[in-house]
């Protein structure tokens, strides 16, 4: 018979924990004795506003103690407590997107807490404030639009899950005339790409035609809101206005569920909305009929929320 005993090791020694370092900054919470047991708080928390979201980033850290996750807390007011009611989400990464904020600018306040493998929690980070950017779809004057900018694809043709009908119903893509056609019948919710077997593994062009009585005084912008894209092969779109190339836009990888679900406002949704907005060059515009083309020559599908041309106010 053999006896093998492993002496108990104090967890502080086992984890190699040092004393927690006080957070520097006017908004840091005061350290309590009990807090010193937890992991070191997040440092370098920053917030950057984008359309429809605020992107948070913070400093990386060593692997010991192992971070279980970062818990991100948010509130519309700066004097908030970290708790279940203000928990926005958890991530193991050193960044977090607070998304689906809508097209109007929003100001939010954030703190991040580190939870380590033992379940110990750090003190909350210093507070940061972020403000999402306003979409021209909200601030601008609508000139011509398809669909409603609401983080849903449901008003589009074949939504929310009829992708398999695209090759039969829209074998040559979409050709949509503003004022005549309707989203529910003439603009498919999903735009396939050459990586899609179900789409016949070919490029698709979606065409949006709109009329201008005269060129407006203000700058015209194109706004495309996407409900979701393929998770690994979002690919890129190539845009042209009246045969003037507007460039290629690499799409963000999404959540892949958008081919089957159409409502990104559902709590806990796996959909990952994204946005494309760019100014339309004035020389490319014409009084009368304008033709905007969206070619998907690279990658897999994306799903529309809405798109339109707006005059920036």
């Amino acid at each position: 018979m053999n006896d093998h005993s492993t002496p108990a090791v104090g967890r502080r020694a086992a984890l190699g924990l040092g004393l927690a370092v006080p957070v520097v900054g006017a908004t840091a919470l005061p350290a309590r004795a009990a807090d010193l047991r937890g992991p070191r708080p997040v440092r370098g928390l920053k917030a950057a506003g984008e359309i429809g979201r605020v992107k948070l980033t913070w400093d990386d850290r060593p692997y010991t103690p192992l971070v279980d996750h970062y818990a991100v807390y948010a509130s519309r007011t700066p004097d908030f407590s970290t708790g279940p009611e203000t928990l926005l989400g958890k991530t193991v990464y050193t960044s977090f997107k607070h998304d689906r904020l809508g097209g109007a600018a929003q100001e939010w306040h954030y703190r991040v807490v580190v939870v380590d493998a033992a379940g110990d929690r750090s003190r909350p980070s210093a507070l940061v404030t972020g403000r999402s950017k306003e979409s021209v779809a909200i601030s601008g004057r609508p000139v011509a639009t398809v669909g409603t900018f609401d983080h849903r694809s449901l008003e589009m043709a074949l939504a929310p899950a009829g992708y398999a009908q695209i090759p039969r119903r829209f074998p040559n893509g979409a050709d949509y005339l503003h004022g005549t056609h309707q989203p529910a019948t003439d603009w498919p919710y999903i735009h396939p790409g050459p990586s899609d077997n179900w789409g016949g593994r070919k490029p698709y062009r979606y065409t949006f035609r709109f009329d201008l009585e005269s060129l407006p005084a203000g700058e015209l912008w194109l706004s495309i809101w996407l409900v979701d894209t393929h998770a690994s092969l979002a690919g890129e779109i190539e845009l042209a206005l009246n045969d003037t190339g507007l460039g290629k836009v690499r799409l963000e990888n999404g959540g892949t569920r958008g081919s089957l679900e159409g409502d990104a406002t559902v709590p806990g949704t796996a959909l990952k909305p994204s946005y494309v907005e760019l100014a339309l060059p004035r020389p490319a515009l014409v009084a009368g009929r304008n033709v905007l083309t969206i070619d998907k020559n690279v990658g897999s599908w994306h799903v529309y929320d809405a798109l339109g041309v707006f005059e920036r106010r």
Binding site: T6, A14, D60, D68, H69, V92, V115, G268
Partner: protein
């Protein structure tokens, strides 16, 4: 067929003492030392017991304290403190001939997992083990030590398993495996899946869909821990772990689909992939019977290792995910010329060197590679063109050629490759020239189907013609099941077991095919 293991009630009935009074092997009242960390209010052994990585003088014994295995924070309902866990190993089911006992400390940092490495046992024999913690006794497990490395072994009985998507079906295959008299189970990857479990993928009929938070994709340590706990609540999985030692390796879904080193298919920054890998590997280690030499350090998991079964077999357990290069030209399936880059590696240089050093020293009758993804060349274009999966060894033909060259250089005997990943039973002869069916057969590959992934399946599917168009593929089947093998000095008999369904419990098991590979003659002779 094996006799069922004694469970706690019958064991206590045999001992004639109460749970409260019983302290392992003594019958005396529990002392403060026995209860370090305090008494636990509920049974902490809800995730069962397991053993693994047998050596001639011992095994590693595993359990994880979890009175509430599905507690959302991943800590199994355990308090944050450390707990003493006593273990006891006996030569008999009644624990009257104690062979070893000891104590380890379960900490919150490791999810209160226990990896007790037992030494001093006798080679090539059966043992029984159990744990005690917080005033509770575990179920009894059965295990086996490896034979003496110099001994002549007459037979090595093992099975392979892989791809246990809990949500796609019942683990009925494990019921049937537990009834076989196995020495070892090789698990070849995809012990968990990282996907959210929803109505869209839930196929276990008669069992309610697990509620939130199981519906979310898994990224954090608490989520990975919880995912292992959910899978390990399966009674068939627990029984098989308790009845035979397992030797495990990973494929991709222990972390994220199709990852390669520090890259995933979603364009996630490398630093973030490594963060996810670190917590995924930690949860993998915490939940499986692995030795301390396999404990991960941050994002690094020292998993590849060698098992020797007497003079009969050397088994190299490989890691084909952690060190591999990404897709050569960005696509999973293609025939890009970059695929042929001689620098491409699926094993990584250190693992390659370690493997070939092992070949150099091997004098075993059989040399087995237990690993994740299909090694054979499989042309996926049934027409005149060629297409290959860069997620498998086809994405690394230069590495495969280096492997074959090392086999030839060191003249290793009877190479056999055991593979999982693809959810199909496939039997393959490795050819000296893949494009010449008449060229020499140089190795044998046995690809076992999934335990649960993809649900009931069918006898064949749309991929069948593609695989069978490769003349070196000798069997293709799309049911669920496992591979059962008997290895002797003269032959390897491989039986491909299938189940007609897994979305309902209680399926019988069938033997789809039986092949013999004779020692000295690589390849497959079909008997059934």
């Amino acid at each position: 067929m094996r006799t069922p293991l004694p469970y706690r009630r019958s064991f206590l009935a045999m001992t004639g003492v109460s749970t409260a009074a019983f302290v392992l092997g003594t019958g005396r009242a529990a002392s403060a030392e026995d209860l370090e960390g305090g008494r636990l209010p509920a049974d902490p052994f809800t995730l069962g017991v397991a053993s693994g990585d047998p050596l001639p003088d011992g095994v590693v014994l595993w359990t994880r304290l979890a009175p509430e295995p599905l507690a959302p924070d991943g800590h199994g309902g355990m308090p944050r403190g450390s707990y003493a866990v006593h273990y006891e190993v006996a030569e008999d089911e009644r624990f009257s001939r104690i062979a070893a006992r000891g104590r380890v400390t379960a900490t919150a940092e490791l999810g209160h997992a226990v990896h007790a490495e037992v030494h001093g046992l006798r080679p090539g024999r059966e043992y029984f083990y159990r744990f005690k913690a917080g005033g509770h006794l575990s179920p009894v497990g059965r295990t086996r030590t490896a034979p003496d490395p110099r001994s002549k072994v007459t037979a090595f009985r093992f099975a392979t398993a892989s791809c246990q998507a809990y949500y796609h079906g019942y683990f009925t295959a494990y019921q049937h495996m537990a009834a076989e008299d196995l020495d070892v189970v090789f698990f070849l990857g995809d012990y968990i899946y990282e996907y959210g479990i929803t109505t869209a993928n839930w196929r276990r009929q008669g069992q309610p869909l697990p509620p939130a938070p199981h519906n979310a994709d898994v990224y954090t340590l608490e989520q990975y821990r919880l995912r292992y706990s959910l899978f390990r609540t399966d009674p068939d999985l627990q029984r098989l772990h308790a009845s035979v030692p397992w030797v495990v390796t990973t494929d991709d879904h222990e972390v994220v689909n199709n990852y390669a080193d520090d890259k995933d298919e979603y364009g996630t920054p490398s630093g973030d992939v490594l963060r996810r890998r670190a917590v995924a590997y930690r949860a993998f280690y915490e939940n499986l019977p692995l030795r301390s030499t396999t404990r991960p350090h941050g994002p690094d998991l020292p998993l590849y290792r060698r098992l020797r079964w007497g003079s009969l077999a050397d088994v190299d357990v490989l890691d084909t995910r952690q060190y591999r290069d990404f897709y050569p030209a960005g696509a999973v399936i293609d025939n890009a010329p970059e695929r042929l880059d001689p620098k491409r590696t699926i094993l990584g240089s250190r693992q390659e060197k370690w493997l070939y050093d092992g070949f150099r020293r091997s004098d075993a009758t059989w040399n087995v590679l237990a690993q994740g993804v299909v090694m054979a060349a499989i042309d996926r274009d049934t027409g005149p063109g060629e297409l290959y999966s860069n997620d498998q060894w086809d994405g690394f033909p230069a590495n495969r050629d280096r492997l074959y060259a090392a086999m030839r250089r060191y003249d290793i005997a009877n190479p056999v490759v055991l593979t999982g990943d693809v959810h199909h039973h496939i039997a393959i002869e490795h050819k000296a020239d893949w494009k010449d069916p008449d060229s020499a057969t140089i190795a044998t590959e046995l690809v076992g189907t999934s335990i649960g992934s993809d649900g009931d399946g069918a006898e064949t599917d749309s991929y069948g013609p593609l695989w069978l168009a490769n003349k070196h593929v000798k069997l293709y089947n799309a049911r669920r099941g496992y591979l059962s093998c008997t290895m002797t000095p003269e032959r390897l008999t491989s039986e491909f077991r299938t189940l007609p369904y897994v979305t309902r419990p209680g399926a019988p098991v069938n033997t789809l095919a039986r092949f013999v590979t004779e020692a000295g003659r690589p390849g497959l002779i079909r008997e059934v």
